[in-house]
């Protein structure tokens, strides 16, 4: 009997080799994790596979990796969402019948991005930049400041000397940056507060929505390049953000209360454990 169980234990121990871990980990994930409901298979993206292949022109080969690091990619926006075409069919991937519109000409870039970013397009067209583009064909477009494929989440640092002194002095851009900075500071702080609260379990859908529309409206406003307008409306935005901050501070207070209440209960029960122990030690 003893030998039997010894043999079984050895079998158990020997059948778990620690070599080849990486490969089996991948195979394991393939088998156990990626099991899809009957009708759904993973979607292919032929745009990416073609553009990453050896036969592609070098300057176009870097696009997929740039896009993969972008904010668009993080939110599941891929090639066909902007350029059209069919990402699952090699033959018709770039067919106009499937909506493929390819690369926009320089003048058409704002309209290209503005199919989704409607509010920003409106402000941009009214701005000095937008008017210059219409009248002279020379102006910064969306791509100039945000890039074409490696688009990141917008921040105030996009306004910098290098980018903004190509056509005129940096002075104007600097004034704009200063006008934005107070509200921008508030936005960054509120954003951080919201993600801290989320990490601690408070999702706060209403507050997140209100914050998003406030800061989206503010960022859209900047695209008018109208410093006066920005300065006029700074107070309004500061107030709106202040309201959100107040509500958030309630939640922080609530989190504090929860911690304190739990500490109180911990001490109470720890004390009782000790008292019971003393009681036990008392000889009956």
């Amino acid at each position: 009997m003893q030998r039997l169980y010894l043999a079984l234990i050895l079998l158990f121990l020997l059948s778990s080799p620690l070599y080849g871990k990486e490969e089996w980990k991948r195979a394991f994930e393939e088998e156990y994790l990626k099991i899809f409901p009957v009708d759904e298979a993973p979607k292919r993206n032929v745009c990416v596979s073609c553009h990453m292949s050896e036969i592609m022109r070098p300057e176009l080969r870097t696009i997929p990796s740039q896009w993969s690091k972008s904010w668009h990619a993080r939110n599941n926006i891929s090639c066909h969402d902007c350029h059209g075409g069919d990402p699952e069919d090699e033959k018709n991937a770039m067919s106009p019948e499937r909506g493929f519109i390819g690369k926009p000409s320089f003048k058409d870039i704002p309209q290209f991005c503005g199919r989704c970013h409607i509010g920003i397009l409106e402000h941009y067209m009214k701005s000095g930049h937008g008017r210059s583009l219409r009248l002279t064909g020379h102006a910064p477009t969306c791509v100039t400041c945000h890039g074409a494929h490696e688009i990141q989440k917008a921040s105030i640092e996009i306004i910098n000397e290098k980018l903004c002194s190509k056509c005129h002095s940096y002075e104007r851009a600097k004034t704009m940056k200063q006008a934005l900075s107070v509200t921008e500071r508030l936005i960054v702080d509120t954003d951080r507060a919201l993600s801290t609260l989320k990490k601690k379990g408070m999702i706060l859908e209403k507050e997140n929505e209100e914050f998003f529309r406030t800061h989206a409206e503010f960022r859209a406003l900047f695209h008018t390049t109208d410093v006066k307008l920005v300065k006029e409306r700074t107070e309004e935005f500061t107030k709106r953000l202040g309201v959100i901050e107040t509500r958030l501070s309630h939640y922080f207070k609530e989190l504090n209360f929860r911690r304190n209440y739990s500490i109180f209960l911990t001490l109470l029960f720890a004390g009782m454990a000790f008292l019971f122990y003393l009681f036990y030690k008392e000889r009956m």
Partner: protein, 136 residues
């Protein structure tokens, strides 16, 4: 004896406070929640909503929009886009709601036509009382 009595008293006191600090939350937990809706309503006149157009209002800190749907009458929706919370506008020519942030489009019944929004627009209660439209 003295010590035991003292321990007993301490134990009972801490036991009672432990019990209390657990029963009080349970009570608050079980008691029914207070009134959910605030009960405020907005009243506007029929004429305030231009034909084929819209009226934007604020009900209880919440932005709403009223339109007239052919064959259905007046409807009210929350203007908060179900994607990330921007405020939608009504395009009187295309007869759709458009969100300026990422182009989410909703039809006149609030259903998503295109774009990233995951759910239809929230309907807001609306009643007609004679010449008045009561929202909320």
């Amino acid at each position: 004896m003295e010590r035991r009595r003292f321990l007993g008293v301490l134990l009972s006191l801490s036991g009672l406070s432990a019990l209390g600090s657990l029963i009080y939350p349970v009570f608050r937990f079980i008691l029914p929640p207070g009134e959910m809706s605030s009960g405020t309503v907005l009243r506007i006149k029929r004429g305030d909503v231009p034909q084929g157009s819209f009226k934007e209002l604020v009900l209880d800190n919440k932005p709403v929009i009223v339109i007239e749907v052919p064959q259905k009458g007046y409807v009210a929706f929350s203007r908060i886009c179900t994607h990330l919370g921007c405020l939608v506008r009504f395009d009187s020519d295309k007869k759709v709601f458009i969100c300026p942030c990422h182009g989410g489009t909703f039809d006149m019944n609030g259903n998503v036509l295109s774009g990233p929004p995951p759910r239809p627009l929230e309907r807001i209660n609306l009643n007609i009382e004679g010449e008045e439209i009561v929202i909320g």
